[in-house]
């Protein structure tokens, strides 16, 4: 380096832990959400593309999916946004005990949602190998279900950290990101629930 160097900016006073879009992990979380969301969008497009191959939908002889249990399940999904919101609110206050409390509740919620998802599969009333109709219904549930499972692992892991482990300042914005991803999970389920369970009654 032959040029003279001169200091013109001093960042010593800048914070080292920040929230929201100021932090890197916020972007990473939404990045994965976008890629996964795109996959769900494509599966929804597949649903409508394959619909064209059928006169009746579900095809003749196959039962319509049950809609009551999954709608109750959808309501439960929506309700779990409340503990997610409260996790975020506590984390922003850097309140370890409140955050821990709501994370524990969120963990329980995540297991409840696994049970809901199992019921959702039964409510389909068809198997994946009964025609392309069954295949796409199962994949819509299954793909979203895999996102749910990954989120369960993340929530439980984070809860374990908050209950037991060395919580560092940066784990508070991380907990907020868990809340954000939770919203994505629930909101992305809404159109799928509608298409899978209500749809066959409409089109």
């Amino acid at each position: 380096m032959t040029k003279r160097e001169r200091v013109t900016v001093d960042v010593t006073e800048l914070p080292t832990v920040v929230f929201g879009h100021r932090a890197l992990l916020w972007w990473g979380t939404w990045g994965f959400a976008v890629a996964e969301g795109m996959t769900l969008v494509l599966s929804i497009a597949t649903y409508f593309y394959l619909r064209r191959n059928f006169q009746a939908y579900p095809p003749q002889g196959y039962p319509r999916p049950d809609w009551i249990a999954p709608t109750v399940g959808m309501a439960i999904f929506l309700a779990t946004c409340i503990p997610a919101y409260l996790v975020k609110k506590s984390a922003v206050r850097l309140d370890r005990s409140a955050t821990t409390r709501w994370l524990v509740i969120l963990s329980v919620c995540s297991l409840v949602l696994c049970a809901v998802r199992t019921v959702d599969f039964y409510a389909l009333r068809v198997l994946w190998m009964t025609s392309a109709y069954g295949s796409i219904q199962w994949v819509l549930l299954g793909f979203h279900g895999s996102l749910l499972l990954i989120e369960v692992a993340e929530v439980i892991g984070t809860t374990a950290l908050f209950v037991n482990g060395p919580v560092l300042p940066r784990h508070y914005p991380d907990a907020c990101d868990i809340g954000n991803y939770w919203y994505f999970l629930v909101l992305s389920w809404l159109p799928i629930w509608f298409i899978v369970y209500i749809g066959p009654r409409i089109w």
Binding site: R4, V7, A23, L24, M38, L50, N53, A132
Partner: protein, 646 residues
């Protein structure tokens, strides 16, 4: 000896040895094999990525040589149909999934942090994970190939040929899982690039000042985020049809063979721009150094990149013109496929204006740029031709198409890539490549390219379809095929010249210094090769051509920690200082996670037990990755938390 304190307004002391030692301690990788396994340094990982991707290029080239040998004579017996079909599938799959996209991303992962003036990519461990997963996925494909279970249904694996009924065995499953691996790797790389570019730019590098190469990588990363899920979804449907009896592609049960094509090409068309746009970024990076002026028309260049990225998603049906889609739909895709020539044209005209008004220097990278324009325009004009439905109905699935896409991919992406290697080899290794061998490399490659692929335009018209392991002598295709095969030999020689150049220059190349080309971007403001921390003091940028616009004095920002790894985050649009974020230490967990996921994907094609096993392994790796270590607790005990913007 402690490092001297740096004060705002003051010049930086010249003796920085103590400071450098301290930064080496903080940012350097651990020594030995363990250090090699645990490093999270983007340059180490970038070099591995580039080398691995280049090895796949060589393997793909060997496959090409075998194909050309078989086709050099009618009814040749060098390769039977089964071997040939595996080899052309491996050639396409290797080149598209294991070479072209990874190498462009890898170059981005190495050079974008340097060009934007930061110390590492945004998620260093995720980056390491991406590389290991790439290595595992690519190796998986080749191990299967050597075990005679390599895929044989073409790189685009059309159903029903690749479905359970017509491709028994594990060959097509191997293909589908390789896609799953490479898709995740690509998305990981894309997230790294987007977040690094948005949040970690040097102070003063507002969005309208980022180098065109960085724009190209940003735009490409967005394309990857939206395109890769399509091929992943398609390959998931295929794997499900094959392994558990779903009916996505089974017409007898309401499935649809065209569903595959739509889904694949919705990915497939953006895929070629994912390969091409970084190459245009490479050209825009190198041209200033070799014409002694910034690229002409920065706003037009940036808008061209963005519009190509959007338009690329609206072309895919032009791969399906022969399937009998309705005329109105086909016309729409003809129009969009033709329109995309406009932003590409804008880029070419801006480069021509740069060359015209600049003072060209004809070093090897510049030769590759000129060769790129020579070849890409040929591929571009044939591209506009095949946008026409009637025209395409003659040449689709013939060697005319093979000619077209090799001109745009080899000419349009590989030539800039070779130029970039000659350009950046000095920065990465500290030594120059030989100019003499470089010129031989270039001319042999250019001549070989044309000898191999130009005759193929005619072969297409004369009726030679693609993916044929042989042809009858009575077709008369022999002489042109022989010419093409000789051309392939010339290309092979040029690549050998290149390899000789690399190997000898690593030992005996001229020492490069910081900025041998007198270029304008920030990577040239540090040593060759750069230290683990990239810049001793983070640069502050004054203009688009960072080093040319800053005058006689290099401004720097100080204040990030020298006791632990820290990067400076700036605001997204204006690159004003916003926060300091601590970066993780080296870790073995990315490798562990890659192994867990590798086990999951590979065993999934053999047994459903893979899912619970993989889930458990993955969870363990995730726990190891995320749980704070003692080192973390020590170095992150004293944080300044800001709740602003929460």
């Amino acid at each position: 000896m402690t490092a001297p304190t740096l004060v705002i307004g003051e010049p930086v002391p010249v003796d920085d040895r103590a400071e450098r030692e301290q930064m080496d301690r903080v940012w350097g990788s651990k020594p030995g094999f363990w250090g090699w396994l645990t490093t999270t340094n983007h340059k180490e990982i970038g070099k591995r990525y580039i080398t691995t991707a280049f090895i796949f290029f060589l393997l793909g080239g060997i496959e090409a040589a075998m194909m050309r040998t078989q086709l050099s004579r009618p009814e040749n017996s060098f390769l039977g149909p089964d071997k040939y079909n595996q080899i052309f599938t491996m050639h396409g799959t290797t080149m598209m999934f294991l070479f072209a996209v990874p190498i462009m991303e890898a170059i981005g992962l190495y050079f974008v942090p340097l060009m934007v003036g930061t110390r590492n990519v945004a998620f260093p461990r995720l980056n390491a994970f991406g590389y290991w997963l790439f290595l595992i996925g690519g190796s998986f494909l080749y191990v299967q190939f050597f075990l005679n279970t390599g895929p044989d249904v073409g790189w685009f694996s059309y159903v029903p040929l690749s479905g359970p009924q017509f491709s028994p065995g594990k060959r097509a499953d191997t293909w589908a899982q390789t896609i799953t691996f490479t898709e995740i790797v690509a998305i990981v790389g894309a997230i790294e690039l987007i977040v690094t570019i948005f949040k970690q730019r040097a102070v003063g590098m507002s969005l309208n000042r980022i180098p065109i190469f960085v724009w190209a990588m940003l735009v490409t990363a967005f394309m990857i985020m939206f395109a890769m899920p399509a091929v992943a979804t398609a390959s998931m449907y295929l794997a499900l049809d094959r392994l558990v009896g779903t009916h996505f592609f089974n017409p007898a049960e309401g499935g649809d063979v065209l569903l595959w094509q739509h889904m694949f090409w919705f990915f497939g068309h953006p895929e070629v721009y994912i390969i091409f746009l970084p190459a245009t970024g490479l050209v825009s990076t190198m041209l200033p150094a070799f014409t002694r002026r910034p690229v002409f028309g920065y706003p037009a260049m940036v808008l061209a990149l963005i519009s190509v990225a959007f338009m690329a998603f609206g072309l895919w049906v032009h791969h399906m013109f022969a399937t009998g889609i309705p005329q109105l739909a086909a016309s729409f895709f003809t129009a969009t496929s033709t329109m995309i020539a406009i932003p590409s044209g804008v880029q070419i005209f801006c480069w021509l204006a740069t060359i015209w008004s600049g003072r060209p220097r004809f070093a090897t990278p510049m030769l590759f740029i000129l060769g790129f324009i020579f070849l890409f325009v040929i591929g571009g004009v044939t591209g506009v031709m095949i946008a026409s439905v009637p025209f395409d109905l003659q040449v689709h699935d013939t060697f005319f198409i093979v000619a077209h896409f090799h001109y745009v991919l080899v000419g349009g992406a590989v030539f800039p890539l070779f130029g970039a290697i000659y350009y950046w080899f000095p920065k990465v290794t500290g030594r120059m490549l030989s100019e003499k061998l470089g010129k031989w490399n270039f001319w042999l490659f250019l001549i070989g390219m044309n000898m191999t692929f130009f005759p193929m335009h005619w072969l297409g018209f004369y009726g030679m379809p693609r993916r044929v392991y042989t042809y009858l002598a009575s077709t008369g295709w022999g002489p042109l095929n022989l010419l093409a095969s000789v051309g392939a030999l010339v290309i092979a020689i040029s690549v050998i010249v290149f390899l000789v150049n690399v190997v000898t220059s690593l030992r005996h190349g001229e020492i490069a210094g910081d900025n041998p080309w007198d270029a304008d971007t920030l990577e040239w403001a540090t040593t060759s090769p750069p230290p683990p921390y990239n810049f001793l003091h983070l640069p502050v940028v004054q203009g688009r051509s960072a080093l040319w616009d800053e005058g006689d004095e290099h401004q720097v920002a100080v204040g990030t920690s020298t006791e632990r790894r820290e990067v400076l985050l700036t605001t997204t649009l204006d690159a004003q200082p916003d926060s300091r974020e601590s970066h993780p230490h080296d870790s073995i967990w990315p490798l562990a996670m890659a192994l867990a996921i590798g086990v999951l994907f590979i065993t999934a094609i053999f047994t459903p037990l893979a899912l619970p096993i993989g889930a458990v392994l993955g969870f363990i790796a995730f726990a190891g990755w995320a749980w704070p270590t003692r080192q973390d607790v020590e170095s992150e005990s004293d944080e300044k938390v800001s709740l602003e913007g929460a």
